[in-house]
């Protein structure tokens, strides 16, 4: 065997070992664990998961969040990306500022928003100082589900729009200017150019962005935990509660498997819906 043939494998080996030991093995263990219960091997943990009072709620809340947050983020990121395209001066500075939230951990982001929105938080103080509210107002408890949901959406949009933006900006830069210029000569209006040229050519980037964001959105946890605790159950939060508070690793594993299946399904969904034909690919 010559050096050039085995070298790539040797270079890949550390990564493979790493993934194998720290990803694949735990994955298999989790799946096995989810079928092991008090009564031996079976679906007991899944039964317990589905029968729990927070199960339906956590599914509902997670999907509600995904369905609200993702369209908002894509729309925002598209708008921001297109604005960046038009900028000539200071573009890098703006892009840099917009991507700052990317560097903030999600728990830290949750705590920042908690500091803003809790009873004694900055928003309460500001509104009180302006005379708009009579005293500290609670927004984040079980009796105020709507404002709690809005707060979580705000925090998620603030925290994770940047990742969509970065991918879309990369995609926008790949679209040759000639298409738009040609369309303009033929009299296409800006909206038509956006719908007929930019969007279709942006499909591959949109697909990557949507897959990444959707999978991450189904795993939303730290922001919700910081803002709402147990008042707004989500799937990963339930997995955490079963593992940490209830100390039932089997049910926690069942939740983990469910989240994995949902994430896989979402990935397949975006791959099919936004399929890019090979001949269209740049």
């Amino acid at each position: 065997m010559t050096q050039s043939r085995w070298l790539p494998y040797a270079l890949l080996a550390p990564a493979m070992v790493f993934l194998g030991v720290l990803f694949f093995v735990p994955l298999v263990q989790t799946i096995v664990l989810s079928f092991q219960g008090d009564a031996g091997f079976g679906l007991g943990n899944y039964g317990k998961m589905v029968g729990d009072l927070n199960f339906g709620l956590s599914i509902r809340n997670t999907f509600l969040l995904v369905l609200t947050v993702i369209p908002l983020q894509v729309a925002l990121a598209l708008a921001m990306g297109l604005m960046l395209q038009k900028m000539t001066f200071g573009r890098d500075v703006v892009l840099w500022v917009w991507t700052i939230p990317l560097g903030v951990s999600d728990l830290a982001a949750g705590l920042v928003w908690l500091a803003l929105l809790q009873n004694t938080g900055y928003v309460n103080s500001a509104l009180f100082a302006m005379g708009l509210i009579p005293g500290p107002t609670a927004w984040l408890n079980s009796e105020t589900p709507v404002t709690l949901f809005v707060a979580v959406v705000l925090a998620e949009v603030w925290r994770a729009t940047a990742i969509v933006l970065v991918i879309l900006v990369g995609g926008l830069q790949l679209i040759p200017k000639e298409f738009a210029e040609a369309a303009e000569i033929f009299g296409a209006r800006p909206w038509t150019r956006f719908v007929k040229i930019t969007l279709p050519l942006l499909k591959p980037s949109l697909q990557s962005a949507l897959i990444l964001r959707t999978v991450l959105a189904f795993e939303v946890f730290a922001v919700v935990y910081a803002l709402g605790g147990r008042n707004f159950p989500v799937l990963v939060g339930e997995a955490y509660a079963w593992q940490r508070d209830n100390q039932n690793y089997g049910v926690a594993a069942a939740y983990a498997v469910l989240i994995m299946i949902i994430s896989l399904a979402a990935t397949v969904f975006w791959l099919r819906v936004l399929r890019v034909k090979p001949e269209v690919q740049g």
Binding site: V17, L22, D38, L53, N119, T120, G135, S142, D245, N248
Partner: protein, 433 residues
């Protein structure tokens, strides 16, 4: 395979395993010291006080703290790997219980003999056997749950009510009066993710109404209890489902009347002892139930340094060490020790509150769950879920209790745990009527 590839693979394996090894080794740097792993006195200031003051005069010790769940996992891992770093463990009664079936605790009847003269009550020593017949832990320190009342709330006390002998009806009326006069709901409970709400339901509310924690779970008395508690909740601050430690909303002025573990209200009392009163929790028709909390010290089976572990436990159970812990950390002695008159004002308030609770003429002891092993978390969940459904989600009381009693029965059958006080002793698993 060529030689270089083999080296590359070896290097990869070495790097990954080294990474695992370095993250896994607490106390590795001080391998020669005695490792004392504790789930108690965890916050950084408390741990520092343990290291700098409490352990003075003890054998050289590395004091390591961990949360209850990783604590159990860690002890299990040490047993399974048969590689021991921890010598002494300090944890609550209920956290030491799961270590028994995994064989992580050594029998320490020898230590029990050595501390016999310290005057630890026989009932507490019996708890330390964890139902095994051998001494598995030595009681370390104790605490309980109390009510803290801000003096601002006293003018609104309903006529005829004694703040030191409240009933749940009076508490509801009091909260209502405060709400009407100040516009705020000022009663608070720690119903947040890390709060101890389940302990309130198990140790205070249920026994006060039913003289039971498990058996009478869905009795007529329990139905009345939930009805009464919903009336209390009408004047409870809705942010309660976010509260973990009641000292925070007390200090922020959001809450005037709070129930919590003494250690979780201590900061508020220390910060402004003149503002508060510590009183016994309310009583129900069957009495004024309270839950004593006992932390114990055990020695790990296979401990690297058993001789010094024994010496450390002896040191920690000396009356002067116990008084020091009470003074600095707010946990009370289990041995025969007189608290000095110069206690910090906040701790003095707490110790008076604990005394009022224990010595109330209608006092009733409700023990922490015994014999549930790793089902302790799910046991708590039954109570919290019931509370969520009935009080927060307004589901019908009877139907909810019937459904939740099923979950409770499953836990009892699975663990075969016999009843503990205040439930009457049972042969076999504690029944849920």
């Amino acid at each position: 395979m060529t030689k270089s590839l083999r080296y590359a693979l070896l290097a990869a394996v070495a790097v990954t395993t080294a990474g695992i090894a370095t993250t896994g080794g607490i106390g590795r740097a001080n391998a020669q010291d005695l490792v004392f792993l504790s789930t108690q006195l965890r916050p950084i200031e408390e741990a520092q006080k343990v290291r700098e003051m409490v352990l003075k005069g003890a054998p050289k010790t590395t004091y390591v703290v961990d949360e209850p769940s990783p604590f159990t996992v860690r002890m299990k891992a040490e047993v399974e790997a048969n590689k021991h770093t921890v010598s002494v463990v300090g944890a609550l009664h209920g956290e030491l219980q799961p270590l028994v079936p995994m064989g992580a605790l050594d029998a320490i009847d020898d230590v029990a003999a050595k501390v016999a003269s310290r005057g630890i009550p026989a009932g507490l020593m019996e708890l330390g056997k964890l139902g095994s017949g051998k001494q598995l832990y030595i009681p370390w320190m104790q605490a309980t749950y109390v009510m803290v009342v801000k003096k601002d709330a006293l003018p609104f006390l309903p006529a005829g009510a004694d703040v030191n002998a409240l009933t749940y009806e009076q508490l509801a009326a009091w909260g209502k009066a405060i709400q009407e006069k100040t516009g705020q709901r000022r009663i608070g409970f720690p119903a947040g993710p890390k709060g101890l709400m389940a302990r309130f339901l198990q140790g205070n509310l249920y026994p006060s109404y039913t003289a039971s924690m498990v058996t009478e779970f869905r009795s007529a008395e329990a139905e009345k209890m939930w009805g009464d508690f919903k009336a209390v909740w009408a004047s409870v601050n809705p942010n309660s489902t976010n509260y973990d430690f009641m000292q925070e909303p007390l200090m922020a002025g959001e809450v005037w009347i709070a129930w919590d573990h003494v250690a979780r209200v201590k900061d508020a009392l220390t910060a402004a002892p003149g503002d508060y009163q510590v009183v016994a929790p309310p009583a129900g028709p069957k009495g004024r139930a309270y839950m004593p909390v006992v932390a114990g010290l055990g020695i790990a089976k296979g401990a690297p340094d058993r001789a010094n572990a024994v010496a450390l436990i002896e040191h920690l159970s000396k009356p002067e060490t116990q008084v020091l812990v009470a003074k600095e950390l707010g946990f009370f002695p289990v041995v025969n020790a007189t608290l000095p008159a110069d206690l910090p004002a906040g701790v003095k308030l707490l110790s008076e509150g604990v005394a009022k609770t224990q010595n109330a003429k209608d006092a009733m002891v409700a023990l922490l769950p015994i014999g549930l092993g790793d089902k302790g978390g799910e046991f708590n969940k039954v109570y919290f879920d019931t509370f969520q459904r009935i009080v927060l989600r307004n589901e019908p009381i009877k139907a909810t209790l019937d459904a939740q009693a099923g979950a409770m029965r499953d836990i009892m059958t699975a663990t075969k745990a016999p009843c503990w006080a205040p439930d009457k002793a049972s042969d076999g698993a504690c029944p849920v009527k």
